[in-house]
Point group: C2
Chain length 412, copies 2
């Protein structure tokens, strides 16, 4: 970073928001690296705990990390290096909080504002850019997409998805090997993240060696879940495959829109008078046990899906960094109120290109798995999905090891 | 393998038994490789689904795998390649099943019998070797140890533990990063395998960067768990560490020996009239939520602990293969009724040496974490544990990838 001629130059501030992914720090790396390298940018600041922390004057600068060459460690570190928040800005742009934010931005001589996040974070970018337009501010606001759920619209896919999908595919494969050791019938139910969109659960199908391999049944939240049909499908699948593996989205619902996991919570209260809230996997485990009398186990993949550095997809890691860099260049080029999006190029080989999309058309929308990709009465996904997802999970990342022999992460 | 002079030579049979580990197939590799290379052994057979499958004439030979050079894939493949069983031989050695087994062994001209497993499998080796002694059979029986629980006696440690411990350490580290993104208090409870022995849960401490790092509290089944003290400890730890990570063994019990997870199951029955059996992690999650009113999450690491190929420890993988090879050489050298054990050599650098121990002194015993290694009123483990465990989890394994970009496993 150069601090000469700083009066002419503007600074950049970057924040992270919403739930973490395996590569949200790769996008941060992209933003910071590009910001530090740019002749037009003086200082690169990071908001600590997003816009919420920034309002409390919590921010840092990246000079030391750049000098010590530890920025690269961001490429392997899970979580959100800067800390995150779930803070929603008011809809009313005349709310004094906007004046407060812009005063702070001006005090820091900010010209460029990058926010890495999902739907809600794009809502923040939308509001700030609209306020800026009304207030004649020249600060440019750019959104860098991030979500394991892959549910952002107007982009082919989202950074964070590829790594989570790689984790799901590889882990379901390993669980299938683990589950097939005994010579007696068994059912293993794997519960996968995704409350409204089934992208991650669908990635379970990438674990298959061939069409008849496990997981034999895959249930997404996009189609209505019928417990009776489920039991019948499991019973039938067990005939052909004695050690059955089933993938279910945490968000599967019945035809009335009631979450399957809520059926479980109706069952009883615990010692403290609380509803017994467990996942749908646990509920379906008991259902199969009772109806079919076979050995059943449920496995909830939980947060490991979004924080595994060893299962990171190289494609995802590289694209996430690329999105951050592209966002900075877009801001420098005069863009504002935009989100970096991914476009898949035509052709037999996978190739991706960054573009910009109006953030106002993205925030508060949700992209779900196309219904025509969900086949066999809602128990599987089609080859179109495999063609779509396979390039995104490709490539192993060799995470450098620290002195203790474990992945060498960085903390602020 | 050479099939000339087969009348003079004897054959070897190997089986796998009990729950799988990440390296049970590495031990199988060691046995098969050594068996195929030996001048004194003609054929190497594998029992499918252990002694139970063998009684149903289910076995295979490894010639094709050796010729096709796919044996090496066993070093990376989770699950139990040969299939497993949980079959306990009768205590009464006059039971006709013994005659049946030995008849089959003689029909196959078996001279050497290797069985890879834990406590119960060593019981099988004990009984068969004792029967052989009484029946004047020259067949030699050797046990190859295996268990993620690390609870076998008379050995420094057990193949399978190092990889599971590496998985626990790395995953707890990643979960701690994931859990620390928000600027509000939170508790994450990680439930780890180990019903009677806390070795795996203790490995959570290897995730720490320094003494004051997460996981701040670690609870093993070796000491009585007191829920009131637990709540107080969590409350106190939250003061210093707002995003707290706690490790608990699945088998933690109160002073009366009642499993903590059973308290949960007393709470209610589900729609089917079944007790609501969830883990102790879920129970403690609700307890903390109710008592402290903070955000709590519980994560059950589940079977991933024992089947992750990406988190395998190279030390563990190599030692597992070594144990298999040593076992075959011991049988050829005339030993029977023995288990391969590990001895740690004195010295500042970790060095391990195989030895043999009487299987009768091992089976049906359990080695737990020494009480003097459990410190701070049962909430942590000492530096002696770290010194013990660190070498066992060392070394990353680069699992070869198949065409699909995922780990290239082998199936029978």
């Amino acid at each position: 970073m150069r601090r000469d001629e700083f009066i002419m130059k503007k600074n950049l501030v970057v924040g992270q928001s919403g739930g973490p992914t395996a590569v949200i720090n790769s996008s941060l790396y992209g933003v910071v690296k590009e910001g530090c390298q740019s002749e037009e940018i003086d200082w690169v600041f990071g908001m600590v705990n997003g816009i919420e922390g920034f309002l409390k004057n919590r921010y840092l600068d990246f000079q030391k990390m750049e000098e010590e060459k530890t920025l690269e460690k961001l490429l392997y570190t899970p979580g959100a290096f800067l800390g995150s928040c779930r803070y929603k800005l008011p809809d009313d742009l005349t709310n004094p909080v906007y004046g407060e934010i812009f005063k702070k931005l001006e005090e820091l001589n900010i010209g460029y504002f990058c926010y890495i996040g999902g739907n809600d974070s794009m809502d923040t970018v939308s509001k700030l850019s609209r306020y800026a337009a009304g207030a004649d501010s020249s600060i440019r606001f750019i959104g860098i997409p991030k979500t394991v759920d892959n549910d952002l619209v107007m982009t082919d896919h989202t950074p964070g998805y590829g790594s989570a999908a790689r984790y799901v595919a590889q882990t379901v494969k390993e669980i299938a090997y683990d589950a097939s050791v005994y010579d007696s019938k068994s059912v293993t139910i794997v519960e996968i993240m995704g409350r409204h969109a089934g992208w991650l659960t669908a990635a379970g199908c990438l674990a298959r060696r061939d069409e008849n391999d496990n997981p034999r049944l895959i249930y997404l939240p996009e189609t209505a879940f019928d417990t009776e049909k489920f039991v019948a499908s499991v019973e039938q699948a067990l005939e052909e495959c004695p050690n059955l593996v089933v993938c279910v989205s945490e968000g599967i619902k019945d035809k009335d829109g009631v979450l399957i996991c809520e059926y479980d919570s109706e069952a009883g209260v615990d010692n403290f008078g609380h509803k017994m809230l467990t996942g749908c996997g646990k509920y379906l485990e008991r259902l199969i046990q009772q109806k079919l009398g076979v050995k059943v186990r449920s496995v909830e993949l939980n947060v490991c899906q979004r924080c595994s550095s060893t299962m990171m997809s190289r494609t995802d890691q590289e694209e996430a960094a690329q999105a951050g860099m592209y966002g900075v260049r877009a801001a420098l080029g005069g863009e504002t109120g935009m989100m970096v999006a991914f476009e898949r190029k035509d052709g037999s080989e996978y190739e991706m290109e960054c573009s910009l999309q109006d953030v106002n058309r993205i925030c508060n929308q949700e992209k779900t798995v196309p219904l025509e990709w969900i086949i066999r009465e809602g128990t599987d996904v089609s080859s179109e999905f495999i063609k779509y997802a396979m390039p995104l999970v490709k490539g192993k990342v060799n995470c450098p090891e620290g002195e203790d022999g474990f992945a060498d992460f960085v903390r602020r």
